[in-house]
Symmetry: C2
Subunit: 256 residues, 2 copies
Amino acid sequence: MTGNDIPEGYDPKAFEPFAVTVDLAVFTVREAVLHVLLIRRGQAPYAGAWALPGGFVLPDESAERAALRELAEETGLSRERASGLHLEQLRTYSDPDRDPRMRVVSVAFAALVPDLPEPSGGGDAAEAQWVALDGSLRSPLAFDHGRILADARRRIGDKLEYTSLAMGFCPPEFTLGELQQVYETVWGVALDRPNFRRKVLATPGFVEPVGGAAQRRTGGRGKPAALYRAGRAVVLHPPLLRPVVDSAGDTSGEGA
Amino acid sequence: MTGNDIPEGYDPKAFEPFAVTVDLAVFTVREAVLHVLLIRRGQAPYAGAWALPGGFVLPDESAERAALRELAEETGLSRERASGLHLEQLRTYSDPDRDPRMRVVSVAFAALVPDLPEPSGGGDAAEAQWVALDGSLRSPLAFDHGRILADARRRIGDKLEYTSLAMGFCPPEFTLGELQQVYETVWGVALDRPNFRRKVLATPGFVEPVGGAAQRRTGGRGKPAALYRAGRAVVLHPPLLRPVVDSAGDTSGEGA
DNA sequence: ACAAAAGTGTTCCCCCTACACCCATGG
DNA sequence: CCATGGGTGTAGGGGGAACACTTTTGT
């Protein structure tokens, strides 16, 4: 609201103070498995449990800025490199008792990073780790972070259909095979390669070929793939619809 | 984050307190024009300007609860009736100087109401008014509310494509013509009636016919239309794609 | 020579678009 | 009986799914 309905003579400090934080669901794809960056909690509450990285919003920064700062800290990337990553606001979680200690309102963000050479980074954050989302994560996350993570994962999957989001998981130059890997990993389905290729190339400016192609990347055999980089178009039209999956797929490991 | 990265001996009160508020973009369709519920500001800053209704999040309620409370207050509806309305969180706006007086973080919501018999409601809120979004609104909104409104409007338009959102603008029982009106009004395009009908009926459980049909509603001539009500399905699949509009349409009136 | 991965071509079918056409009611 | 809005039918075209096929590399 910002300004109306303020009772006369209202004093903001009369209210119990709200702490405002950001929580980050940072995703990457490593070896065809979706991973999230998590932190093992040291103190109570939820000592020993996994939690999403995050931190307080400082008095002079927006939630977006705080999220970017935290992203850089937790991944060990420089501010410049981090600002090139995809980072988007998810939604805000504000249940009065989501933190037993005090009133904390948290603005959740989802971030996408390519497979980093270093596991996490030797910077400020000590214990951030990539955790696979393949069902092996059994213990519930701290606070309402399980829900946040599930929401973030769903949002990412949905946006793959009609945006260039998937390239956020890729290095600056990538093959169409790598891009398809991302889709298959996030969605947990197999896609037809010829059709995938056509759809991705159908939207002008979605990906653009880089001239000097065919550098050998994935150690292996087979015809060397052409390299592409992300184009200007951020919306994929027509969208790349996810095949309907009747029942299967492992959505486990997030029940918190 | 909720709990990690707290500096040792951290005292939350050492931080400048954040006020947390909700802002509501409440939409309705009246006479084939999209309207928003706005409030004329009395005091500075932005005295005399239009603003979105909203208010503080109280210490013991979530943002969702606060939004519902405000929605009921501003529309004059009972809490029960209001809770039947569509109300969804949009995103959070947290620029440090979005309010010149103090640090205010606002969680924005979008709400949809059917065309109410009463203009706004004789309840608590004095001056809430429906304002047409047809380009006649020239003055910029207070604070960053112009941006919030634009974001809300875009989100609503987008979600019409693949959800049952449009029925939020309709009374409990409605004709397919009325439903089509909603789409055409929000999107600002004309749709082919036979095809609209088929698409809406294609998803089982999206709308369901109510037995005793053909009540005369819109004073008028023509064959009486069958009545439908919202079904259980909330996703429209396949989606009802918005025709590509090359250039025209009035998106004005929101530049703030 | 064979496997593996990239890339191209082609067929079939479904759905969407566009209209034409009938039905029911009010004036 | 005509205007108006509700409802059904149908021909045609575009695009996606499925799959066959060629190309280029490593072993």
